[in-house]
Symmetry: C2
Subunit: 214 residues, 2 copies
């Protein structure tokens, strides 16, 4: 039993290694290198082995995208849950998401904007929807306590999500390369703007200092 567990661990580990290799490849040079043979080589396994862990290429990359997305969605979710005004949480969430994206720019670009296969495109839609869901919760809170204008929470969440995602496309593009300070400034503009959509009254401060390091 103990040894069977070791064996199971190896399986889990190999799968993780393939997922990692795939993520790294995408983070390094985008979808053009998202080829089974290349990823297998990078993971140190044979091409065929990939198919012991994943049904298909689409499955593999959907899982890669899912893993990375989950992490980002979780970060946003944590900020959404945080205490404080809905307005401030919204600004923080967008700011943090943006800064993190620009920190891992190549991967973020691949996940958000880079032209890619239809299957990956489809997985992206889910990712965006998951993000929008988190934002929607925050929107409802803000509407409930009077901070935000009264509007359909899902429409509002889509608008907010679209706003900051689209605004990131330019800064994330490989030919752009804002340094850390520029990235923070961009993130602040984006967060301030996108959140303004919903504010009933004045704009809150755009200085999400504390949670920004998340």
């Amino acid at each position: 039993m103990a040894i069977a567990a070791v064996r199971l661990n190896q399986l889990v580990e190999t799968k993780a290694r393939i997922l990692d290799a795939a993520r790294e490849a995408v983070a390094l040079s985008g979808w053009k290198d998202a080829q089974i043979a290349l990823i297998a080589a990078r993971a140190g396994v044979a091409t065929g082995s990939v198919y012991r862990y994943f049904d298909s290429k689409a499955d593999l990359y959907a899982q890669v995208l899912g893993l990375v997305s989950e992490r980002e969605v979780a970060v946003v979710a944590a900020i959404v849950e945080a205490e404080g005004s809905a307005s401030q949480c919204l600004v923080d969430a967008i700011y943090t998401f943006s800064v993190r994206a620009m920190r891992g720019r190549r991967l973020a670009y691949a996940l958000i904007a880079e032209p890619c296969e239809p299957e990956i495109d489809a997985a992206r839609l889910k990712y965006r929807a998951a993000l929008a869901d988190q934002i929607a919760r925050l929107v409802r809170r803000g509407i409930a306590n009077g901070e935000f204008v009264e509007i359909d929470a899902n429409v509002a969440a889509s608008c907010v999500t679209g706003a900051f995602m689209e605004a990131l496309v330019g800064p994330l593009a490989p030919e752009a390369a804002p340094d850390s300070d520029a990235a923070k400034a961009i993130a602040q503009s984006i967060a301030g703007l996108a959140a303004r959509m919903l504010f009933r009254h004045a704009t809150p401060e755009l200085t999400p200092v504390s949670r920004a390091s998340a």
Copy 2:
């Protein structure tokens, strides 16, 4: 010379027929039917003939996307140029774009959100950029005359463009099917929200009646 002109016309006409066929096919059932052989049949020419007019499949679809986009960008540009407050023009532009998109829902879905080949994805980015450029002009005007908050016009334009585009994804999806009235209501929500991002003061009326029929 006279006859050469006739001949030239036929060439132009055939090319147009292929473009039309491609557009129709996409408008009918999306990118899955965007196949050279199918489009050729639909246009009433042989498969090989398509290659007398287009370098490649990617070229053909880039041109299809370009043609349709140009029209929409032109509509937006006209509203951007129109007299009146920048705020009102912004709301009108977004409203009109949204209503038009939902009127030609399947094609709009394909152009905006449907998972597709990387080459088409790439063409989409240009389309969005062109739209954002128009919005940016309006943003500059609004900033100049004090209607809008002072903010980088390009970032702002991206946010606005992203906001309404993303908000349209849901309503445009094939499984959704808002009727004409519902579509107008959605368009109004979107336009009102997206534009609010920029307003320095109060929200203007969300009743872009006159230009909405454009």
